[in-house]
Every structure is written in C-alpha cells, then in structure tokens.
Symmetry: C2
Subunit: 345 residues, 2 copies
DNA sequence: CTGAAAGCGCTTACAG
DNA sequence: CTGAAAGCGCTTACAG
C-alpha cells in the first residue's frame, strides 16, 4: 500500500476508471468493484485485476463512490477557532485517531461565529459527512434544531447537552481541586476571575467546583469577577481588581486570563508569586514556557480528541456509547503560587 | 441566502433532488440545473423553481456535481502541523479568503512526516481538489515527482522552488535587519542559534541575511550554532553555549528557539536583558505575553494566507501569477534587547 | 464466482 | 427559453 499504489503513469494520460481496469483485466466492472470492496472473487481474476490496477495506478473516484453510497467516510469537525491550544490539540487527536480508523476529518472553522456554526452543520450534512463533531462553546436552540434537521450522528466536545452525546473535561472537579489547592497553600483573599455563564463548562462548572472548595473552609474572602477570554481584556480587568480589592491570589478561569493577570501584575510592579499568586485552567504549553511557570489545571485535549474519534465511529455503527464521557485533569504545580504557611515560619 | 435556504423540512423525509424540484415546478431537470448555474431561464419558470426550492430546502448534491465536473471547488492544504502559530495563522488567512471567493478549504495534517506529505498530494489530487497549497518546510524530489504526476495547480507557502509558484516570507532581509538592529544596539559577541540548512527559509536565508549585516561591521565575534525547532532542545543547546562562549546576545532563528534560550538563561540565574540579550523570528503571540517581551522579526502569516488564497484561485483560472511573492516583515522591539551604548554612559 | 443492467444526482451539448 | 437524452464512475441487486 505504501509505494506500489501510486499512480506513476497518471502524468501520461487521463485518470483511469473502473472500466479501464475491467477491460485491462478482461472482466466486468462489477467484478472489479467486488474485488475492491472485498467481495468474493476467484484467485485468477483477482490476480488479473491486481495487475491492471498496479499498471494504471488506478484509484477509485470518491465522488462516484459517495454518490452511490449516499454518504462518505468523512467526519466533519466544527471548530470555533484554529488558533487556540485547546482546538489544535483536540483536532490533532481527532485527526490521528480517525486516520487510523480509516476515516477522514474535514475541519470547518467558524471564527467564533455561532451563526457560522449553524451554517456549517447544514453544509457538512449536505456534504454527506458520516458524522459531525462540534467543539462546542455554547449550545443554542438553533443548534438543536439544525442537528435534528440533518439527522447525522453528532458528538459534542467541551460542553454537554441532554440531547446529544458528549465528551467533556472535568471542569467541576478541576475547579474544586484548584480551590482546595489554593486554600491549602494558605490563600484566603481570593479574586476569582471567570467568564460568561453562557459557557457552561468554563463559566459555570469551574466556578461551581471552586465555590464548593471555598465552602469547606471558614473566614475566606472571595470575590467573583467576570471578564473576556482575550488576554488584553483580562489584563484590564485585573488592573481594576488590583485597585479595588488587592487579592492575595487570582484564580483565573483559563490560562489566557491568567496570562493577562500576569501582565497586569508586571505593569503594576508586582512580583509573582511574592506579591500575589496566580492560577489558570487549561495546561497550555505557554504556561510552562513563561517565567514564573503558571500553576494550572491541565486538561488532556489530544487524548480527548482521540477518544471522541473512537466514539463518533461507534455512533456511526449505531453501537452504544455513554451519553457523556468525562475526560480527566491534573493540577500542575508551578512557581506562580507560593506556600503562605511556609512563608510565615 | 441566510435563513430561507435552510432545509427545514429535511427532518420529515429524504433529501430532495433536482428531479423533485423539476416535478414540483413542472419543468425539466435541465431547466432547474440551468437556473442553478445561472443559465438563461424565463421569469415565470424562475419563480416556480425558486418556490419549489424554498419549499423543499433543496440543495444540490455536491458529489453528483463533482462527478460531472470532474473537479471540486475545494483547495487542499497540506500542513506539517496544526499546533504552531505560523500554521494556524496561515490557515485562518487561507480559509477566510477562500470562503469569500466561494471556495472551500480542506486541511490535510501530516504531523511533520514528509512521507505523509507525498501521500497527501496524491490523495488530495484523487479527491479532485481544484488546487493544492503546501505549507512547505522542505521540497524533496518526491514532492516534485508527485506534483508532476497529479498535474493540479500548486502553490508553496514558506519555501520557494523554481518548479512552482510560491509565497515566501522575507527571511533574508529579516535576517539582515535583525543583524543590523542587534549591532546597532552595540552587541558584538553574538551567538547565532540556527536550524538545519535543509530548511532553506529558516535555516539558510535568515542566517545569510544576518551574516551580511555582520560583514558590514568590524571586530565582531560571532559563532554559529545549530539546534532543533523544539523549546527543550534549544534550551539544552543554549545551556552548552552559555558555558563555552558566553555571548552577550543570542540571535535565534525562531521565536520558539528564543523561548528555549530564555528558559536556559533563567535556570542559569541570568536576567534578560541585563545579563544577556535575546531575539527571535516569527512574531508569535507568546513573544508579547512573556516578560520580558521578546524582540523579534514579525512575519504576517495570516495576510500571507489570504494572499496565497487569491493567488491559487488565479492559478486555477490560468491567469498569470508572479512566480514568487515575498511577504513583508517587521522588527518588533521589546525588552529582551538592551541598548549597550546607552548603558556605557 | 461472474456479468448485464439499472440507478445514484447532476450537467451538458443538442434540438427545437 | 426549454426539454430529452446521454453520460460522469461507481455499486448493487439479480441472474446465471
């Protein structure tokens, strides 16, 4: 399969078709087709067909195949953005696993437009995708309607919804453990810098988990803030909070937000972790590169992508798949958090 | 086009075909087809067809279309990796521009395997891509052979080659200007940390430009080193160089390599830029996020992607396109480089 | 095991 | 302006 199948003679003439192969091998088209699709073919004819195929470098026309089959072996993946660590890693995991299972992946980038997401659902369905994977941020009624209309197997990644199968990260427990971690280090004056609650996973669950940890302890002063996903916005929010609240630590709902806080702290002349602690969620590469390294709850995007690939294929085959799968996480300790107890000694 | 075309009734029955539309409108299939493809259709029939289409939510089967047309309006893009700033930005630029011109983009990720690149060329051609864009790192004889065989319009991004159209970044002049910049700041003991010369753009051209700048000045001590693209490898290389050479500045062939050098300098207890300067090439987002910010030669990947999209489409239409287009760059000054002249005062 | 025929949904000359 | 027919390359019952 590695070398011999390459259409070396393609440059000479036009692409060969199944009819060419049939003629060359002296058999009927249907026999060639049967050979190609693993049907029963006699040894002798098999030989002749193989010969003809390698002579011509024949390879079936996928459009003709799909036209008959009325579907492809392509999984359409809708992704809100291409330039995020989480997206890339998830896509890589999906792609590699899908390839291994002899499926193709088609990426549809929506540039963070929910409207484009809806369009993509219809468009992918129209292109006869075998299944659709949505790297979700928000599930609206329109999403639900679209998926109902197209009737293509669907898997959500990153958000869960009662109507669909989904694979999510363990945002709640990550929030909880992060809370416990921070409290365990002695921090008691905490700014939680979150995002919109329309994003259930990032905006709600992480915060809820964190709140639970807080409730297990006494006399802890916590304030909750909301900012945007982008670094400059987070930076601006942090600057304000620094004025009005002076927290001893920022617990940020994403690594990017944490980056913004770090920038704000620099520009205010503060040193992390000496003057203030910072934590994130995500486990982006950059959290390890920077100095001080960022303490964060790392999610396993690539693995999640691989798992999702296996699940969507199960779904295609109408085999049972658990409604919601929870991918794990890990608290990574780095320099951005100090041990206040130790400091007091 | 926004709302009305959506196949709301799709959920009810099977997808409708051109024949359904024809019957509903009381005309022939060919007339519907002509309407769809902008041929001449009478006002009255046009109305009826439009009515039928919006009633059914009809949308043509792309496989049937491609089967006839023997090609698609999809541009296949081969990318060595998904998780790099340069790749993502380029893809975003390509995708957005292509969409605007009514083309689709299909991404083929090769995970840095040259062999997979070759396979992708054949596979994309087999899928009747209208054109192929290769985010190139290295052009081997196999690439040339493959492209000759498939006879599909091709555009290279990032590397040039006499056989193909290409869009490259101005690596030579970026190297030159970076050299001048560093010299202008008074640095005279320089470690140039480059990469393999098999990568012409990154490994050869940047270095050549830099060398040219060096030659314009006297009594400058420069040593050239080679490392890998990954941060840990660069970090290890930097540590060694720090022992044997003690440069006053590291000029790194990529931002990632510069990140490795920064990490090495931290772990050696050095402060940038006080004890040592560092520069990169690329202009990745991370260079702005970190502290100190990294001085770098910024390339415009997204713009380059957009430009490439326009060019490949020109190529499809067999319109003239300049053989090699050079995308610009900009030296971004940040804190990782000091002014040694000023310091002496 | 093998082949002839019909059909997937569309487009494209060719008549009219 | 409009329609009947052929054909794109493949697969799938159906006979044999």
């Amino acid at each position: 399969m590695k070398q011999e199948n390459r259409p070396h003679e393609m440059g000479l003439g036009k692409m060969s078709t199944i009819l060419d192969i049939a003629r060359l091998a002296g058999v009927a088209k249907s026999t060639v087709s049967r050979y190609l699709n693993g049907g029963s073919v006699g040894e002798a004819t098999k030989k002749k067909i193989e010969q003809a195929i390698s002579e011509t470098g024949y390879t079936p026309n996928p459009f003709a195949q799909s036209l008959k089959a009325k579907k492809t072996n392509i999984i359409g993946t809708i992704v809100p953005r291409l330039d995020s660590y989480a997206s890339s890693q998830t896509l890589i995991g999906l792609d590699e696993q899908l390839k291994q299972m002899n499926y193709q992946m088609l990426i549809s980038n929506t540039s963070q437009s929910l409207e484009r997401e809806i369009e993509s659902i219809y468009s992918l369905a129209n292109q006869k995708m075998a299944g659709i994977i949505l790297l979700a941020t928000e599930i609206t009624d329109q999403h639900i309607e679209a998926f109902e209309n197209v009737k293509v197997p669907v898997l959500l990644i990153g958000q869960e919804h009662p109507d669909f199968h989904s694979l999510i990260h363990d945002d709640f427990h990550a929030g909880y453990e992060m809370g416990r971690y921070v409290l365990g280090k002695g921090y008691r004056k905490i700014a939680y810098l979150g995002v919109t609650e329309r994003d259930i996973s990032v905006g709600v669950k992480r915060k809820q988990g964190f709140k639970k940890a807080i409730q297990e302890v006494e006399d802890c002063e916590v304030r909750f803030y909301e900012t945007l996903f982008k670094i400059p916005a987070a930076q601006a929010s942090a600057r304000e909070i620094l004025q009005e609240f002076k927290p001893s630590i920022f617990v940020c709902a994403t690594d990017n937000i944490a980056m913004g806080v770090l920038k704000a702290s620099y520009s205010e002349g503060m040193t992390v972790p000496k003057d203030m602690g910072v934590t994130g969620f995500g486990g982006y590469d950059v959290t390890e590169i920077i100095h001080p390294g960022l303490t964060t709850a790392k999610f396993f995007y690539k693995e999640a992508g691989e798992k999702a690939a296996r699940q969507i294929v199960e779904l295609l085959h109408e085999r049972p798949v658990e409604k919601v799968t929870i991918s794990h996480f890990e608290i990574i300790e780095r320099e951005s958090v100090d041990n206040l107890f130790q400091r007091r000694l």
